[in-house]
Amino acid sequence: MFERFTESARRTVTGAVAQAERLDHPEVTEEHLLLSLLDTAEARALFAFTALGLRDRREEIEAALADARRRGGLSKAETDALFDLGIDVDAIVRKVEETHGEGAMAGARRNAGDDLPPREATRVRGRLRRKLLDHRPFTPEAKKVLEQSLKVALGRGDKHIGEEHLLLALTVRPGVVSEVLKDFGAGYGDAERAMFGEPR
């Protein structure tokens, strides 16, 4: 699959690893792929984000991603939908965090060695940290985004995979990233129109 990636798409993927490093995250997630795309100077991505009106909204998007994670992956649209039903998600999150600690709804990050006795766990983590210094794995979901970009390219009859296909893949895969993109007016249809004109 990777041999089909254009130079600029490869730089975007490498950039996602750099984002994970910057945020001190042990794994590369689909959020890091989006942030990498937003920071990129690659022409197609720049064109798309300009057309979608997202070029100056990077910080807002990063904040929205963090908010959605804090709400356990619920997007702004979903939170609003629940509010209409009389359910205040933010109040629930505050309540849960009071009892279970900050970021409780975001899910405690599982660490290597959690199931081992403390001394053994420290040894495992030390080994892992050394390993992470030169290798940060992609999460299964982030890998699915890369696979989806291949499907998107094939579906459009494109022979290469560029960052435009990565962006479309991010809008397709269910989860926080596509929900946030949708909230910012960048669903699949919007992104496709912005980059290629009317959908085929």
Binding site: G72, L74, E78, T79, L82, V96, H100, A104, A108
Partner: protein, 69 residues
Amino acid sequence: MSEATDLAARAGDQDPRVGLRAVVALRRLLEQLEAVQVRGARNQGWSWQEIAAELGVSKQAVHKKHGSR
């Protein structure tokens, strides 16, 4: 509000998409709350059996769903 916009607003309220979307969101919220509570119970030393009994599901089901967390 003119009659036309009033009607449009009321039609919007009956849009099944709004209701369905809320159901999906509610389901996701429920899953998150369950994960938080199960994690809390495990941290307090509850057995899978005890958690399963409270949730009204089998021990296997709760372990399969939350065991890896």
